[in-house]
């Protein structure tokens, strides 16, 4: 099963995203931003890629600003 990562501008936003997703029962993990992606912030949220469509509106509702979403190879 492949994973994805959500990148953010700031650590605070990564924390906000983790809280919002965990509250909704999503299994996500905070990880160091993989070096292959250029990100503003050193911490990213890793999640099962199958959930990508479910996660997007949730983050939007929680006013989480996302820098980018990438699928991990």
């Amino acid at each position: 099963m492949s994973n994805g990562v959500i990148l953010f501008h700031t650590t605070a936003m990564a924390m906000k995203a983790e809280k919002a997703l965990t509250r909704e029962g999503f299994q996500v993990t905070l990880v160091p931003t993989p070096r292959e992606f250029s990100s503003d912030c050193g911490i990213a949220v890793r999640f099962p890629w199958s959930l990508v469509e479910a996660i997007r509106p949730l983050l939007q509702n929680a006013a989480v600003e996302v820098q980018a979403v990438h699928k991990l190879g």
């Binding site: 501008h9 700031t10 650590t11 936003m13 809280k19 905070l30 160091p32 503003d40 912030c41 911490i43």
Partner: protein, 382 residues
């Protein structure tokens, strides 16, 4: 020992505060938001949770608009130096602490147009005079919420309306009112709120915050310090997004953990319960002091709202003598002098001698207040 200097810093702290700080060092000792390993993330979680706790306390809708600083002074400096440029108009009151007055006097020398509106002798705001001074085009109104000298509370919601009508932002110095009085920045129209963690919030020294309301365009507020933020590390320019724009350098994670624990204690106990207890202590103190011959109590007696701060003088005695003897002979700890607020003491007529300030806290007992009153009575007679 009887500690009556809670307006300088609250003491004792709830045990939860000490535990949260030691837990942080033991279990989450990484650098928050820098490295990305588990201890760094654990620290970042504590910092974020504290942002939410602060945002919740003041009804700020976005935890990322809570900027941690070292204290209220730094938060106030950030707002004042960040916003005001030469030619801008700023209005403040004559009850301000030097944390506001000194930056403003410095900015005045640099071309900012400053108006200090005189307050009434009981420390209350002269609202018509204040309203008149806030002319259209004023950039900022800076106002203390609760006086650190006499405990009077300023009508911030009314002042917010006055400020907004003139197109100005309102900056509130909540050093003595945060986690003491209910503050809803959204309902009251407070644009910037500065506070410290070691007074009402019952946290440690060295941590405070600036809460930035939604109306403030942060593109127009320059950071006071620039440096590493753990974000945009490929760039040599300061990031524009919050909170990083105003949080350069490793944050005081230990202090933040303590602040959060203190705020949780306050929330659990309830602001109303704390305020009610402190009100009973303060009223007993004031009534007792006023019955002692030769004692003058300052501040507003008719005001419904005030915080637990009482200032007094004794005829024929210097304030330093009273303070020294209370400590030496009775083990009662108070603060005497000008309390970093010369303008406030001029306003109430106690400059340059100052006053003796008694500031009970949530952990002060009624028995301690009675003991204190007996001690002051004996000192006044001697």
């Amino acid at each position: 020992m009887i500690y009556l200097d809670n307006a300088a810093t609250s003491w004792p702290k709830p045990p939860e505060v000490l535990k949260a700080m030691s837990d942080l060092l033991e279990r989450a000792g990484g650098n928050p938001g820098r490295s990305g390993h588990r201890m760094s993330i654990a620290a970042a979680r504590v910092v974020y949770d504290a942002r939410e706790e602060v945002a919740g306390l003041f009804n700020c809708h976005d935890p990322l608009r809570v900027v941690f600083t070292s204290n209220a002074t730094y938060a106030l400096n950030q707002a004042l130096y960040g916003l005001l440029k030469p030619g801008d108009r700023v209005v403040t009151s004559s009850m301000e602490h030097n944390a506001v007055m000194r930056p403003l006097r410095d900015l005045e020398r640099k071309g900012v147009k400053l108006t200090v509106v005189p307050c009434n002798a009981d420390g209350t705001l002269n609202l018509p005079a204040f309203s008149k001074a806030v002319t259209p085009g004023t950039r900022l109104v800076a106002l203390i919420h609760a006086s650190n000298v006499v405990g009077t509370v300023m009508p911030v919601a009314e002042v917010a309306q006055i400020a907004h009508k003139a197109g100005a932002l309102l900056l509130v110095d909540a050093a003595q009112s945060a986690a003491v009085l209910p503050i809803d920045i959204t309902a009251a129209g407070i644009d910037l709120l500065a506070f410290t963690g070691h007074k009402g919030p019952l946290g440690p020294t060295g941590i405070g915050a600036l809460v930035i309301g939604e109306k403030v365009d942060t593109a127009q507020m320059a950071p006071l310090a620039r440096g590493g933020t753990g974000s945009q590390s490929d760039r040599e320019e300061q990031p524009e997004f919050l909170p990083d724009k105003y949080e350069s350098g490793t944050p005081n994670a230990v202090g933040i953990a303590g602040l959060e624990a203190g705020l949780k204690f306050v929330r659990k106990t309830g602001l109303t319960a704390i305020l009610e207890h402190e009100k009973q202590l303060t009223e007993t103190l004031i009534a007792g002091l006023m019955s002692i011959p030769g004692v003058t109590v300052y501040g507003c007696r008719e005001c419904q709202k005030s915080v637990a701060i009482v200032s007094f003088t004794v005829r024929g005695k210097t304030v330093s003598e009273i303070g020294q003897r209370l400590d030496d002979e009775y083990g009662i700890l108070v603060r005497v002098g000008l309390h970093c607020a010369p303008a406030a003491h001029r306003t109430i007529g106690t400059f340059p001698e100052g006053t003796v300030r008694l500031a009970p806290g949530f952990f002060t007992t009624m028995a301690e207040i009675r003991t204190t009153l007996r001690a002051i009575e004996r000192l006044a007679r001697s």
